[in-house]
Amino acid sequence: MLFNSLAFLIFFPAVTGLYFLLPHPFRWLLLLLASCAFYMAFIPVYIFILFMTILIDYFAGIQIEKAQGRGRQFWLVLSIISTCAVLFVFKYCDFFIINVNGAARVLHWNYSMKLMHIILPIGLSFHTFQSLSYVIEVYWGKQKAEHNFGIYALYVMFYPQLVAGPIERPQHLLHQFYEQHVFEYQRVADGLKLMTWGMFKKVVIADRLAIFVNHVYNRPGDFQGSTLLLATVFFAFQIYCDFSGYSDIALGSAQVMGFKLMQNFNRPYFAKSIAEFWRRWHISLSTWFKDYVYIPLGGNRVGYSRHAANLFITFLISGLWHGANWTYVIWGALHGGYIVCGLTTRAWRERLALYCGWARWPALHKTVQIGCTFALVCLSWIFFRANSLPDALFICRRIFIVLHSVPGDWLAVVFDRSFGLPRRELALAYALIAVLLGIQWIQRRTHIRDVLPKFPQPLRWAMYFTLLLSIACLGVFGQNQFIYFQF
C-alpha cells in the first residue's frame, strides 16, 4: 500500500481509530494485523518470506541469549547468513549471474547461467537490516531477546517503517510496543502536520520534478548538456523530497499513534562536507553502517590507510545495498572516494582557507562549502539515477562539455527551453524548489513545528489551508511509487 494512495487514506484513520479504541493489551495485535495487510497490498505471497526472516531471527535472538561462548557466535552467524541469503536470492542473484556470464564471455568459457527474474519483495533491504540489527544487538548484550513473537514480528513489520525505513534499532523501538499511548492532542496534531508536509514533498515536489527527470534520463541522447545538468539538479531534489517525504509520513503516522521513530533527514543539502552530508542524509542507514560495518572493521582506531579502506568499503557496501547494479556500486564508491579525499586533504584545505582569508567572510565560506558539497553529491546522483552505466558516463561527458563552455552559456542552464515540456511547468518546478529551500532555511535553528505556534491563528490556518490546497491543485496523483521502495 502506498502512502500516497486512496487506500492509505482509508487505512490510516481506520487503524488509528481502532488503535485508540482497543484496550492496551490488544493494540499490538491490531498493529501486527494492520502491518500484514499493509505489506500484503503489494504482493501478498511475499509475506511468507518476511515471516521466514522474522522466525529465523526471533529464534536466533533467543538462542544467542541462552547460549554461551561459541554457541552464541554460531547462532549469530547462522542468523546473519540465513537473513542475507534471502536478500541475496531475491536482490542480487540476477546481478551475480549477469556478471558471471559476462566474465565467462570475456574468458571465452562456454558457460552461461539462466537469469531467475525474481520480483524483489518490497522494502526487503530495510526489514532485513532491521532484523540484523536486532540479532547483533542481542549478541552484543545491548538488547534482551524478545520472547513475545508477535511483538518481535511487529518490530520488523511495523507498517509506517516497513517498506522504506527508518531502519530502527531494537533499543529504540521494541519497548514502545509495551507502552500505553493515550490520545494526546498536541502529539496527534504534530503528527498529522508532519504527514501533510511529507505528502506535499512527495506528490507536489518529487512527483512533479519526476516528470522532467524521467523525460530527460530515459532519453539522455536527445538532450544537450545544460538540460542534463538541470535534470540532475532536479533529481537531487526529487529524490530528497521523495524519500524524506516518505520518512515524514512514516514518522508522522507513527507519532499519531504515540510511537517515536528516528529522524532520517536533517536538511542534507545544507551540509558543508560530504561527511556532514552523510550525517544528515538517510541517517538511520548511515548510522547502521557505522555501527555494524565501519566500527567492526576497525573504524578510525587504526592506521590511516586502514581507516581510509574502512571508509571506502563501508560506502561500497552501502552502494550495493541500494541496488544490484554497477551504477549503485559506483555511486557508493564515489561517496567513499569523496570521504577519503576529504579526510586526506582536510589539513591542506584548512591551510588554504587560512591563506585565502576565508575567516573574514564566514557566510561566503559556508556558501562555497555548501555549493561544492552539493555539486559533488549531484555528480554521484547521475550514477544513481541513470538507467545504465553507459548512460551515466554519457551524461557526465555531456555535462562536462557545458561546464567547459563560456560563462554566457551557463544562462542556458537556468533558462533551458529544450526540455520539450511547457515552460510554465519548469517555472513551477523552480518555485517549488525555492519554497522547499526557504522552509529549510527557516528550520536551520529551530523546527518549523516550534515556530508555527508563534504565528496568529488566522495566519496559521491560512498556511494549513494553502498547504492542503497546493496538494490538491499541484499534486501528481498517478500512484507514483516512492523511489526507495525498490531497495
Binding site: F20, F183, Y185, L468, L469, A472, L474, G475, F477
Partner: protein, 416 residues
C-alpha cells in the same frame, strides 16, 4: 474499596475524559480544515465538469443534434464517453426515421473514413475511441432496436478488438475497463444496445452485473477526485461544443458531421523521427501481446463471428477494415508473434463472403517510417485511408451496387 484504588479509578476516568475532549477538539479542527476543502473540490468539479460527467446527457444530446443537422462540432478536447454520443446519434436517426446507407463501426484508427469516400450515399462513422467487439454489438443492437439496419457496415478491426483482460496490461486502453476480470465495461449509453444486440445474435451476456452501479459510483467519485479537480482548474474556461464550418482546427477538436474526425489537429507538425521513436518504444512494451492469439479471447471472437453471421443473414453487406500500424512498430511486433488476427479475418471473410480491405502490415501499402503517415504508433493520417480506399475503390463500388441499390428503392424518404 480502598482509597488508593478509588483515586486510581478517578485518575483513569479523568484521563479518559481528557482523551475524549482532545479527540473532539481534533475532529472539530479537522472538519473546519477539510470540509471547506472538500466542498471547494466538489463545487469546482461539478460546475466546470471538464469530462462532461455530470452534464453528460445534455451535452451529448446537443452534439448529436448538431451533427445530424449537418454541422461540424468544435470542442476543446475529444469528448469523453463517446459511446453515449453514438447512442444519441442513433436515437436521433430513429427520431428522423432515417438510417445511413453506409456506416463504420470502428475506433479512432478508422476515424478518418468519411463521407467523401462514399459520394451519393448517406454515411455515418461511429468511431468509438478504444472500441471493441462489445461496442460493435451494442451499435448493432441499437440499430436493430430502430428496426432498420444500414445497407453496408464497415467494421474496423484493431488488435484490441477481441481481447479481454490482457488488453489492460498492454498499452491499449480498452475503454473504461476498471476491472480486468469483468470482460468489458461499455458506456452506459450503449448498455441497452449491447443487451439487445446480444439477444439478437444469441450470444451469452458477459459477466458484468454491477456495471451500471460501478459507473455511477465512479461518476460520483469523480466529484471528489483531485485529478478531476486539477483538470477542472486547467479547463475552467472550457469551450462547450459548438457548431463550426471548419473541417479541422489546430486549437480544438472537430467532429465532422459525418462522424469522422482527425486524430491529429495539426498534421503538418508531425515529425517522423519522433513518431518512429514512439513506435519503437510502444512495440517494446506490446511485443508478444498485440497481434497474436494472446489478445484473441475465445468468447469475444465467437461473439464477433455471431455478429457477422447475424449481419450477413440479415442481408447486410459487411467489409472488414484494417488500418495499418506504424512500420517500425509492426516490424518489431511481427518478430515476436504472427499476425493471427489478420489471418483469422481473412478466413472468416472467405467463409462469409466478406472482403477485407487494408492490413495491419504497412508495407502492403508502401508506408515507410520516413514520411508522416502516422500520428503515433498505430493511428494513420487521412492520406493512408485515401490510399487504402483508392486501392479498394472498385470493390467498394461493387458492394454499394449490391447492397445499397435494393435498399434505396425500398427506403423511406428523409434523412440528412
Amino acid at each position: 474499596m480502598p482509597i488508593h484504588q478509588q483515586s486510581k479509578i478517578g485518575e483513569q476516568c479523568q484521563r479518559m475524559n481528557q482523551e475524549y475532549k482532545d479527540l473532539l477538539r481534533m475532529l472539530k479542527k479537522l472538519a473546519w480544515l477539510l470540509v471547506p476543502m472538500l466542498l471547494l473540490v466538489v463545487v469546482v468539479n461539478y460546475y466546470v465538469d471538464p469530462g462532461e460527467l455530470f452534464y453528460r446527457r445534455q451535452v451529448k444530446h446537443a452534439v448529436a443534434e448538431l451533427l445530424l443537422q449537418g454541422h461540424n462540432v468544435l470542442s476543446d478536447a475529444i469528448p469523453s464517453e463517446w459511446g453515449d454520443l453514438q447512442a444519441d446519434v442513433i436515437r436521433s436517426f430513429a427520431a428522423r426515421r432515417s438510417v445511413p446507407d453506409v456506416v463504420v463501426w470502428g475506433t479512432s484508427r478508422s476515424s478518418e473514413i468519411s463521407q467523401t469516400f462514399f459520394p451519393g450515399e448517406k454515411f455515418f462513422n461511429h468511431a468509438i475511441p478504444g472500441g471493441s467487439v462489445f461496442d460493435y454489438v451494442a451499435l448493432y443492437g441499437l440499430y436493430q432496436h430502430l428496426g432498420r439496419l444500414p445497407g453496408l457496415v464497415i467494421i474496423s478491426i484493431d488488435p484490441w478488438t477481441f481481447c479481454g483482460r490482457k488488453a489492460v496490461t498492454i498499452d491499449r486502453t480498452l475503454y473504461f475497463i476498471p476491472d480486468p476480470d469483468k470482460l468489458l465495461d461499455i458506456q452506459p449509453g450503449l448498455e441497452s444496445g449491447l443487451a439487445f444486440g446480444l439477444h439478437q445474435i444469441q450470444a451469452v451476456k458477459p459477466r458484468s452485473g454491477s456495471r451500471r452501479m460501478t459507473a455511477n459510483i465512479r461518476r460520483v467519485g469523480n466529484l471528489l477526485s483531485l485529478t478531476y479537480f486539477q483538470s477542472a482548474l486547467k479547463n475552467w474556461r472550457l469551450r462547450r461544443p459548438q457548431s463550426t464550418e471548419k473541417d479541422s482546427d489546430a486549437d480544438g477538436f472537430v467532429l465532422r458531421c459525418d462522424g469522422s474526425y482527425a486524430m491529429c489537429r495539426d498534421t503538418a507538425a508531425i515529425q517522423p523521427a519522433i513518431i518512429t521513436e514512439t513506435a519503437r518504444r510502444f512495440a517494446q512494451v506490446a511485443k508478444g501481446c498485440f497481434l497474436g492469439s494472446s489478445v484473441m479471447v475465445t468468447d469475444n471472437v465467437e461473439m464477433f463471428r455471431q455478429l457477422v453471421t447475424a449481419l450477413r443473414h440479415g442481408g447486410i453487406g459487411v467489409v472488414f477494415y484494417l488500418a495499418p500500424i506504424h512500420p517500425v512498430a509492426y516490424d518489431l511486433l511481427i518478430q515476436s508473434e504472427p499476425n493471427q488476427i489478420e489471418l483469422f479475418l481473412h478466413d472468416l471473410g472467405t467463409q462469409q463472403d466478406i472482403p477485407v480491405i487494408g492490413s495491419f502490415n504497412p508495407h502492403v501499402y508502401h508506408l515507410d517510417a520516413d514520411r508522416p503517415w502516422f500520428v503515433d504508433q498505430y493511428h494513420p493520417v487521412r492520406g493512408v485511408v485515401e490510399i487504402i480506399m483508392g486501392v479498394h475503390a472498385h470493390e467498394l463500388t461493387q458492394l454499394s451496387a449490391i447492397y445499397l441499390q435494393p435498399q434505396r428503392t425500398s427506403a423511406p424518404s428523409g434523412g440528412r
